[in-house]
């Protein structure tokens, strides 16, 4: 309820032309808008264009916005429409299948060669190369953060959007599902794949750094 009230106030300020309110809104949502736009368009610059166009769309629609959905959901709906239109114009095939059915193509969280054979007589499917505990201090180092950023950049766009919204921006799974129009299961599959890959990248880096 508190959130709805805060949103009502924010809307009032925006409609009254309060520049500071608009600046805050933009700062809060811009990173997420660009991340989600990257699902649809091919590069960062195009994604930033889409985000900018979204803000213009928000301004255009603000007086007519009735608050039937949350402001966030409404903004992301505008973004998605603009991004899709842009993708079609650029002749890009939309990754619908990737969003709607990520389970179609199986992906292992950990390379199969890290495990013993599933038919192993004594230890089927057990670790062959076990993970080792990470040194706490290395985890917080600036270089580790750079590696993390690289690992996220290397993800497929849909996985990148989900992990960014969930784990970097701290959205709930429901908020992510609404913004990206994903089923509960698909959101989880995408998150699982993204987190598994980022963990693997960290593991590789920390092993290198430790030797």
């Amino acid at each position: 309820m508190g959130q709805a009230l805060a949103e009502e106030k924010l809307l009032e300020s925006l409609r009254a032309g309060n520049e500071e309110a608009f600046r805050e809104l933009v700062r809060e949502y811009q990173p997420s808008l660009v991340r989600v736009a990257r699902i649809y368009v091919s590069n960062q610059a195009a994604a930033e264009d889409v985000a900018a166009e979204t803000w213009l769309g928000v301004l255009k629609g603000l007086d007519r916005f009735e608050g039937r959905s949350s402001l966030r959901t409404w903004i992301f709906r505008i973004l998605t429409n603009i991004a899709k239109t842009r993708a079609v114009r650029d002749g890009r095939t939309l990754p619908f299948s990737a969003l709607q059915d990520p389970g179609r193509v199986p992906e292992a969280a950990v390379d199969a060669d890290r495990f013993l054979d599933p038919e192993h007589p004594r230890w089927p499917g057990h670790w062959a190369v076990k993970p080792e505990a990470w040194p706490e201090d290395a985890l917080l180092a600036a270089e580790t953060r750079d590696r993390l950023t690289e690992a996220i950049e290397a993800l497929p766009a849909t996985q990148r959007a989900v992990i960014s919204l969930r784990d970097i921006e701290g959205w709930s799974s429901e908020e992510v599902r609404n913004a990206l129009d994903l089923s509960e299961t698909n959101q989880r599959v995408l998150l699982h794949r993204a987190r598994s890959k980022v963990r693997a990248a960290l593991e590789e880096y920390l092993k290198e750094a430790g030797t």
Binding site: V26, A52, W55, L56, H126, L139, R145, L148, I168, S173
Partner: protein
């Protein structure tokens, strides 16, 4: 350690970690998961690493808007207000 057929293997467990952390495992599967973690040091470390990954991700700085882009948007906002 005795092996029973219905036990999770480590290879199966790593695929359930997100479901577990999201609270999406049905009761029986959750118990099997926790039972495995209770006896398997390597999987316990793996689970901890996934948690650590999430924590470190939460400390990444959010992408910022360039000053130019912000200025343009604010200009649009002023235009909208007066238009």
């Amino acid at each position: 350690m005795n092996e029973q057929v219905e036990q999770l293997s480590c290879q199966e467990l790593v695929e359930l970690v997100t479901d577990y952390l999201e609270g999406a495992l049905p009761e029986e599967a959750r118990l099997r998961f926790e039972d495995h973690i209770g006896r398997c040091g390597a999987c316990k470390i793996y689970l901890e690493q996934m948690r650590q990954t999430i924590v470190v991700l939460g400390h990444l700085p959010e992408a910022a808007l360039s000053p130019d882009a912000e200025r343009e948007l604010l200009q649009a906002f002023r235009g909208w207000r007066s238009g």
